[in-house]
Amino acid sequence: MTTVVMGRRVGLLVCAQCRNTVRASGAVAVRCPRCGAAIHLRKPGSIATTSGLIACAALLYVPANLLPVMYEHTMFYDDSDTIMSGVVSLVHEGSWPLALLVFVASIVVPLLKLLAMAALLVSLMRKSPGNPLQLCKLFRLVEFIGRWSMLDVYAISLLLALVQVRSYAFIHVGLGAIAFCGVVVLTMLAAQSFDERLLWDHQADG
């Protein structure tokens, strides 16, 4: 079996921006000779930043799901929609594939992101790393699916712009929408501040 050599053991760094491999020169801050970005051995304050962002996102997840994201006023009825009731009304309209899409993108994906990131952070803090390969696959899944949660925000913005027929039908945005945007943005930032290499560090030490 080949020996596993980590970059930090042999003084090799990799530029986060252009992925150039650079030799570390002492303790001074290193800049990438190719693109000029500052290079860090590990992203500074990665665990603290990611945990903070995930905690805020988890708090916002509650109002995002409980508060209405949209109010509809028509000649016949006044109604408010949370994300979940929006999914239900899509089912009633008979478009269950879209209902499933919105359900997954707006409810399942954010929850999955929060749980997965929390699991990653806990495994790092417990210093009992688990299987790094599985954890890094989980992280990449989170990173890949996170952006799709914005779907409902776009749908609402189009509805708001179009359904403004005075005194017949109009729409207002609810506070839930802002909480929901907060969840999406904060979890995306959390994924970006997370340093995958931390998952592998324990292995080399062991």
């Binding site: 090799l12 252009c18 899509l90 799709w148 913005s157 708001l160 017949y168 945005v173 929408a177």
Partner: protein
């Protein structure tokens, strides 16, 4: 160029395979780098295509709604503006940034650095711009917007007659051209072009 490469995702040191155009980490399977056989010229051509399509998609209505003889239409700017007028400017800004401004910055700055490179010159602040461009990539969400528009369509069709506008087709085409542009200008390829322009 050094003969070893360090994985950005798991820190494993491995031998660089100079001949390969796409290299993955032996341990964690992250893509270490990718080069393409595309020329700067094709990247520039795609860049102009994307720029033109994005411009067109903001000039014409995205969606037209007909309800009891009244007609409403909107553009992406209109959607952001109505969010602002409803007191949710933050969401409006987020929508505008992720669907128009950041993608526009991506295309614009890529053209700005590639056009001089074609004549073996370097644009001012080339490195900073290319770094910003790479960093902003996760925040350009045209494909998510297209699906969101589909959801809005279905919801509205229960209420009124909705007609897709010219801009929706332009924006759809823009989505594909931006994806193609991103795929033929991987970071490593860009630096090959820069290094090739020396001397």
């Amino acid at each position: 160029m050094s003969s070893v490469i360090v994985c950005h995702a798991c820190d494993l040191v491995q031998r660089r395979n100079v001949a390969a155009t796409r290299v993955r980490c032996a341990r964690c399977d992250a893509e270490l780098y990718r080069t393409t056989s595309a020329s700067i010229d094709s990247a520039i051509a795609l860049g102009w295509t994307a720029a033109l399509l994005l411009l067109l998609s903001n000039l014409y209505p995205l969606v037209v709604l007909q309800l009891n003889g009244a007609t409403r239409e909107t553009t992406l700017f209109g959607a952001a503006l109505s969010l602002y007028l409803d007191g949710y400017g933050v969401i409006g800004a987020l929508v505008l940034l992720t669907t128009v401004l950041i993608p526009a910055f991506q295309v614009g700055s890529l053209l700005y650095v590639l056009l001089p490179l074609r004549h073996r010159r370097r644009a001012k602040r080339q490195n900073e711009l290319f770094r910003t461009l790479t960093r902003l990539r996760p925040w350009a969400l045209p494909e998510v917007f297209m699906l969101g528009a589909l959801v809005a369509f279905v919801k509205l069709s229960a209420l009124a007659q909705v007609i897709p506008g010219i801009s929706l087709f332009c924006y759809g085409a823009f989505m594909f051209s931006l994806a193609a542009l991103t795929s033929i200008t991987p970071t490593e390829q860009f630096w090959h072009w820069v290094e090739g322009s020396r001397g």
